[in-house]
Symmetry: D3
Subunit: 162 residues, 6 copies
Amino acid sequence: MKNMTKDIEVSNQPLKMVDVSNKPVVKRIAEAEGKIRLQQETIRKIRQGLVEKGDVFSAAQIAGVLAAKKTPELIPLCHLISLSKIDIRFSIHKEHITGKCTVIGESKTGVEMEALVGVGTALFTIWDMVKYLEKDEEGQYPHTRIVEIKVLEKRKETITLE
Amino acid sequence: MKNMTKDIEVSNQPLKMVDVSNKPVVKRIAEAEGKIRLQQETIRKIRQGLVEKGDVFSAAQIAGVLAAKKTPELIPLCHLISLSKIDIRFSIHKEHITGKCTVIGESKTGVEMEALVGVGTALFTIWDMVKYLEKDEEGQYPHTRIVEIKVLEKRKETITLE
Amino acid sequence: MKNMTKDIEVSNQPLKMVDVSNKPVVKRIAEAEGKIRLQQETIRKIRQGLVEKGDVFSAAQIAGVLAAKKTPELIPLCHLISLSKIDIRFSIHKEHITGKCTVIGESKTGVEMEALVGVGTALFTIWDMVKYLEKDEEGQYPHTRIVEIKVLEKRKETITLE
Amino acid sequence: MKNMTKDIEVSNQPLKMVDVSNKPVVKRIAEAEGKIRLQQETIRKIRQGLVEKGDVFSAAQIAGVLAAKKTPELIPLCHLISLSKIDIRFSIHKEHITGKCTVIGESKTGVEMEALVGVGTALFTIWDMVKYLEKDEEGQYPHTRIVEIKVLEKRKETITLE
Amino acid sequence: MKNMTKDIEVSNQPLKMVDVSNKPVVKRIAEAEGKIRLQQETIRKIRQGLVEKGDVFSAAQIAGVLAAKKTPELIPLCHLISLSKIDIRFSIHKEHITGKCTVIGESKTGVEMEALVGVGTALFTIWDMVKYLEKDEEGQYPHTRIVEIKVLEKRKETITLE
Amino acid sequence: MKNMTKDIEVSNQPLKMVDVSNKPVVKRIAEAEGKIRLQQETIRKIRQGLVEKGDVFSAAQIAGVLAAKKTPELIPLCHLISLSKIDIRFSIHKEHITGKCTVIGESKTGVEMEALVGVGTALFTIWDMVKYLEKDEEGQYPHTRIVEIKVLEKRKETITLE
């Protein structure tokens, strides 16, 4: 009977944020990259600015920048970081588009998750912009793929005040 | 043929945040103001606390404060700033109400966008609260206008710790 | 003594949403417009695509569309409405830019607040994009103004399924 | 007549954030606790991992951590604080579950609201996970209660950089 | 060795939303209640409108309404519901304030979580508004408690279009 | 000179949402899949429940479900859709984990973007949970990759009310 009223601490694998309170604030830079494979005709339309919903790269850049800022809301155990810069660029290739997201922050922990979320959301936005070009007759996407999302580099730097 | 596989960097006007990582953190103050023109009868009801949806100024103040905090989520290239104070006040005039939003932050960049978003959202909230008074018989708003949203002042100050 | 324990209902002007549960779902359209006054040189740079932070209209359109979707989060007593379309256009004038936001929704209540929030946020985003061009030597904005935000039209329509 | 055009400053009780700009940044810790009373059979199912919607404590921990980060968005006059750690633990008792939320931040103001919002949202999430077990035949909740939400402790500490 | 390449479906207790796609849309009403225990002096200041941060009930009502709308964002497995009405009322007692949140929605699933989140956030906001009155000399809250959060009633109704 | 005052409609590629107001509401189902490549040692730790930050799959499932609900906030031109179900599952392989997200909605437009955002955010969350295991001595991620995000299937179904 005694046992029934005893507290049982729930201890197997509680989800928890890493405590960063005693870490120094450092300037942090991270670069992430990813690709979206599209049909050549879709890429041609993007390049010529003929996509119905509008300019694909502007939409993707803004979506990526806004998503990078939302990282602590999207990735549960990420800390809120004040980002100094978010930059998203694209290069157009024969059968894919490469997106690259560079993030700079001053923080106690790295900014690679921000760069990954930024580039990932930019690529999802490209997909959304060209859905009507990529779908086949049955409404499926046999060609479209997001591939090779990776962190290109992560580094720390000293802040040099202007 | 070679050209087709060559990368093409997308470079015309990429949208980008200004890099503020090497700027010093300074105490920043901004004040923005705007007006909403309303019918005299609507202003009388607001003043007497007779608006059906409830107290117009409380709703507008809270909406403005919350929106100012959301600025980096609303204005794509704004940086996240830790705001020390947001204050929204109103003055009642014969045919309009003036809202004023003061924002204080410690940051690498100014807080005028926060003040503008704060006062703008406060004015939109006033509009929402008095919709039923401002609409004419055909459901249109011939009189209601938001006018003269401007930045009154922007300045820096030294932080004097208590 | 009895009085001290008696409940006192707080009744002066509780803030409350209008109950729309017994209203029919109707197709609703609203158009709102607003202007931002800028220096001629700034307008020239926008038109020529020479603004440092990137394409002003793309940023403003996306910011406006996203903000219109966030209306129930920004304007406290607004209902959540499923929007079928949000469209933001600009026209360039000698000393100002006019933004127009059209919103279509199927809902129990009108969508004019969504159109107002959409156009307002688009104009704030233009301001943010050209801050460095509009500021004077002392960092003030003597010329920049957002003016004449209004609802152009509000109407209901019958839904004709495709 | 003159009075009618005179400005009337709206001054009775404007809602305002406390200005913290001149306060020092200090390491702050707060612990909040709360209980949810459930039926013994529900607690047995939680303990044995037999709840249909999945693992109750994981869902509640993540919901609580994310909500604590959203505090300045939920509690209108709270300041945005960069949190270094959020930790949510549970202990299982005969007729209730106790949740405890510990928050560490470096800030100009305390983090007890973050801890309260964290533990409260964790308890609401537990309720949501076990709704189907707690409802009686008429869909009511005669037994379920959230009780005794309180701040256990609030303190300041010196930051010792690693 | 073969085993190492075999897929292992992760199946122990995946967290999942209940599928409501085949449920009918019904008008749903839920009422939740909760209390916050405060010192008599604090309650006196609230009643007289003398709280420094401004009108406590307006802030709490708006915070509660906005939070109820955010329920699917706060409680992970909740469905998005279009709410027709959210109403938050307070009654003042000798040593506590009672908050009551009524929510009406048309949905495939009940709205009691929305009512609970609404009343809970309203009570947290009251706490935030009166922190400076409730804290003792050491910055602790020996008296403040949120107690007895419960669902008063849940019911369905037929929609009668106006 | 006359030209300078003439309006210039900005028309090159305005970003715009597709108007879905005249489309019927249909039950829609979409399934998306993606993989994250990890080191074998990391996968072993995940499988044995030995990851420091806690249960990887619970965190990833909840993050994915919440992100799928946020799709219209993340992907600028997506419509808000009321989702009836979001389900995220994982299978563990020798050198990667596969995530699959199934989304059901009743809507005027497809839910594949919701499924893509759901699975993508789940995979980013896995990355975040195992960062400390995947980083090499220089803090880089030479092995970690997110690959092959695709839409497995998209279909419509008739709603059969229970």
